[in-house]
């Protein structure tokens, strides 16, 4: 998918420790209670969390593409999970509403919404900007 490609290319050029994964890839957010999710797109920077099968602990950055059947899952339930698990940044991309809702927990940015023609900065990086007007057509599902 175009969005994950942009982030993949950025992390590759940066040559840092961060890796991009896309669904289906299991993330175990907690043991008790057992919470396992499969985010649509995620960036994981701590290799110790990867055991070859899944990610144990919170990814640094997660993007969910809202599913039409259950928007509350991404907007409410996962928002709560990701905040509690200490995911650093969480974007909710909604093709039906044509909005991106940005949550950057450590920066106290809560539910800031952008329309699909925006250029949006990834807060965990210094210089990664994503121009949604270039990829919005590809996000329609």
């Amino acid at each position: 998918m175009e969005l994950s490609n942009i982030i993949y290319n950025y992390t590759k050029n940066k040559k840092g420790s961060c890796q991009v994964f896309i669904a289906p890839f299991d993330v175990k957010l907690s043991d008790k209670p057992l919470i396992i999710v499969q985010p649509d797109i995620m960036v994981i920077c701590n290799k110790d969390k990867l055991d070859g099968k899944r990610c144990n602990g919170a990814p640094d950055f997660i993007i969910e593409i809202v599913s039409p059947s259950n928007p509350a899952d991404d907007y409410i339930r996962k928002l709560y999970y990701y905040k509690n698990a200490e995911v650093r940044e969480y974007w909710i991309v909604d093709p039906r509403r044509k909005t991106v809702t940005v949550n950057y927990f450590e920066g106290n940015i809560v539910s800031v919404q952008y329309p699909f023609d925006s250029i949006i900065k990834v807060n965990i990086y210094e210089d990664l900007l994503i121009n949604f007007s270039e990829i919005a057509d590809l996000l329609n599902i």
Partner: protein
């Protein structure tokens, strides 16, 4: 706001209110935006407003419809979703 009187007893309300408004304070921020949001959704609250005097914004969650929050500024008039004709003009309130 609670519409079903049978939920009320002398101690309080047993079950989900129909509409809840939380006014965010610095100490309640995470509770209001994440924990209560999830809790209210699960327990069947129909509408939840998060009014944040520090940010000068209100987040409106219509749980029965979109689930996606709609963000308003304190200069907006917000339509309540449960009633047909209840609007609240935030510019006239002192928060």
């Amino acid at each position: 706001m609670i519409c079903d009187k049978s939920k009320l007893d002398e101690h309080g309300c047993k079950g989900a209110p129909d509409w809840i408004i939380e006014i965010v304070s610095p100490g309640s921020r995470a509770m209001d935006y994440y924990t209560k949001l999830s809790l209210y959704r699960e327990s069947g609250v129909r509408e939840y407003w998060i009014v944040d005097p520090m940010k000068q914004t209100s987040l409106v969650y219509d749980m029965e419809q979109a689930a996606a929050p709609v963000i308003y500024s304190f200069s907006d008039t917000i339509k309540e979703n449960i009633y047909d004709n209840l609007e609240i003009n935030f510019s006239k309130l002192q928060l």
